[in-house]
């Protein structure tokens, strides 16, 4: 699995219009980085939906929430955090990854045309807009489950068929990803018409949002797959800590940050009619844990090119040290194996960078000796995957020591339209009739 990802939590939607943050009488407090442990987190901390105001819970340097002891020991700071749904970009792309994921793969019914897809997006956007604010969806039978948004974000993407047949008024085009030699794709995880990425720091809130979106999409689409994933629960580690994958590796040290000069160029599309959109790449990567168990620590470290304990490259001592792929040992061998994952994955041109936003998965599978199927729901965003992602993946398919233990079983790509303005639906202009 990939091993490059910066730890910074990029400010969420820092360049979004200010108006996108206004929610009527609901009081929103935009907390600064200092209040959140100095990690540069751009979360918008909302006060209680009842309109109660008060100081945001303070946060320790390690990111753990503290209480002032005056509120019966429970300030629901994490539960009341919100991520703005409306803005220049869709939420859930530059948004620091929340703890839990469900990715829905939907196939539109044959009769669903552009007009009907537009109706679906009105309903789903309205659900997402409300639930992201901690407000019950329209006709929500369980409104109490909406009261803790817990940084809920919903991100909509559209597969190549939808882009070809239904989008208008844009120069944006999208082709299926090419076949990679190491892929062992299963139809069950294949390309769908629509993807809905739901991310949240609370699994119950996420489940409620998923249910509303499924209810409001079933008149238009069938569910092909649901991919659930997880990272660390909030509070388990300091915010900004690079997540580990199920194989134990620090995964995601080198990753574009929104503060990088080239972030916008790399992530946000500049195609006409699609400015501020992006492309979502989804790869379901199974890890063969039974055989990985047989590899000792030295073997594991050489496979990836990073130390297991710190995540530092084998030529460095700290996680964010720059890997030196030319360094040799006393015998003249490269310290970082040229066939290791990071040696093969590292960008060789300024174009070969993309934003990775992966989640681990572990699902019961009693047909396997381990009793489970585990791996990574690899999600990445790039303005142009053909230039940015495909060359890297082709290089990995040609040679990557990690390939002995991982297999890609699902692959899909989705056009992620720009964010919707307040009161509008995602893709509204692309689906205008």
């Amino acid at each position: 699995m990939s091993a490059d990802h910066t730890p910074e939590h990029v400010p969420d939607g820092a360049d979004e219009p200010r108006r996108a943050r206004g929610f009527g009488r609901r009081q929103l407090l935009r907390t600064g980085a200092a209040a959140l442990g100095g990690t540069g987190v751009g979360w918008v901390a909302a006060s209680a939906a009842t309109g109660a105001t008060g100081p945001a819970a303070s946060t320790t340097a390690t990111g753990a929430t503290t209480t002032d002891g005056s509120a019966a020991g429970s300030r629901p700071e994490v539960g009341m955090r919100t991520v703005a749904f409306h803005g220049a970009h869709q939420a859930g792309v530059a948004t620091p990854p929340q703890a839990y994921l469900t990715l829905l793969g939907l196939d539109l019914h044959d009769v669903v045309d552009r007009e009907a897809l537009g109706r679906m997006m009105r309903l789903l956007s309205d659900d997402a807009s409300r639930l992201s604010r901690g407000v019950a969806a329209l006709a929500d039978n369980e409104p109490e489950l909406a009261e803790r948004p817990a940084s809920l974000s919903v991100t909509f993407g559209f597969g190549p068929r939808v882009v070809r047949e239904h989008f208008s008024g844009t120069s944006m085009t999208l082709e299926e990803l090419p076949a990679f030699s190491t892929d062992r794709l299963e139809d069950a995880w294949g390309q769908t018409d629509v993807a809905v990425q739901i991310c949240c720091d609370d699994p119950l809130t996420l489940a409620h949002c998923r249910r509303m979106l499924l209810k409001d999409s079933r008149a238009f689409a069938d569910v092909r797959w649901m991919q659930e994933g997880y990272r660390r629960a909030v509070g388990t580690e300091a915010e900004g800590t690079t997540v580990r994958n199920v194989m134990g590796q620090v995964d995601g040290t080198v990753n574009p940050a929104e503060t990088d000069d080239d972030f916008s160029r790399l992530i946000w599309s500049e195609e006409s009619g699609f400015e501020g959109g992006s492309v979502m790449i989804v790869r379901r990567i199974r890890a063969r844990m039974e055989s990985w168990d047989k590899v000792d620590r030295a073997g594991r470290e050489n496979t990836v090119g990073r130390r297991l304990d710190t995540g530092a490259p084998l030529t460095g001592t700290k996680e964010h040290d720059t890997a030196d792929f030319s360094a040799t040992d006393e015998l003249g061998f490269k310290v970082i194996d040229p066939a290791s994952h990071i040696a093969r994955a590292t960008a060789r041109t300024p174009e070969e960078k993309f934003l990775r936003r992966p989640y681990n998965y572990t699902v019961p599978d009693v047909s396997r000796p381990s009793g489970e199927d585990a791996g990574l729901v690899f999600i990445a965003y790039a303005a142009d995957p053909v230039k940015q992602f495909v060359p890297v993946q082709q290089r990995l398919a040609e040679l990557d020591r990690l390939n002995e233990w991982i297999t890609t079983i699902g692959s899909a790509v989705y056009a992620v339209p720009p964010g919707a303005a307040d009161g509008e639906a995602v893709a509204q202009h692309l689906l205008a009739t």
Partner: protein, 202 residues
């Protein structure tokens, strides 16, 4: 849902279609037709500011999706922000041949039954009045065309002083509203000749 009015204010430049598209919460006065882009408030903009319609807003109006010929209902929250009481006495829509104001009451045998609300819905000054599945609602009978999820249905509310308010309600699939029709009638049956269509007298 206190945010509705504020959100509508922010949407002034948009067309009414866009308003209903993204939000599904619009309610425009009959004097500024539903296609009017104004919408800087969700209340009616009748010339006299003292009409009942001008005092009432409808938040989060929605209608259950049904096929042509079936019956359905509009739900939402009516709020009277004016200084005087208002009474919603009737409603009409091009989407259905007959519209009634219904309440849900408990019968002698303990079951819940819908019936036409005598005298309409009283909306005291400053109060809200919820229309919800299992409670009060605006009943649409004899739906002329399929009401498709995501569509918008315009329902015209008429108040005691004859002022009117057009409400654009978003259509949603909703199975819970089946309970509306479960008492004493088959949901799929035609509404003609049933208790429902004849109101409380039957």
């Amino acid at each position: 849902m206190p945010s509705t009015t504020a959100r509508l204010r922010a949407l002034a430049p948009l067309t009414a279609l866009a308003l209903t598209a993204g939000v599904g919460l619009t309610a425009c006065g009959s004097d500024d037709a539903a296609t009017d882009a104004a919408g800087d408030t969700s209340t009616s903009s009748t010339t006299s500011s003292s009409t009942e319609a001008s005092s009432v807003t409808v938040t989060d109006p929605w209608v259950k999706a049904v096929d042509a010929g079936d019956m359905t209902a509009m739900f939402g929250t009516l709020t009277n922000d004016g200084d005087a009481d208002a009474v919603l006495v009737s409603a009409t829509t091009e989407a259905a041949s007959m519209v009634q104001l219904h309440e849900t009451v408990e019968t002698d045998d303990g079951s819940m039954q819908m019936q036409e609300k005598d005298g309409g819905f009283d909306l005291a000054a400053g109060d809200g009045h919820e229309l919800a599945p299992g409670g009060d609602h605006v009943m649409l009978m004899g739906v002329s065309d399929d009401l498709l999820p995501g569509d918008t249905v315009t329902v015209t509310l008429t108040f005691e002083d004859d002022s009117t308010l057009d409400v654009d309600a978003v259509v949603k699939e909703y199975t819970g509203a089946d309970e509306e029709y479960s008492d004493g009638m088959d949901e799929d049956s035609d509404m003609s000749g049933t208790d429902m269509s004849e109101g409380s007298d039957s």
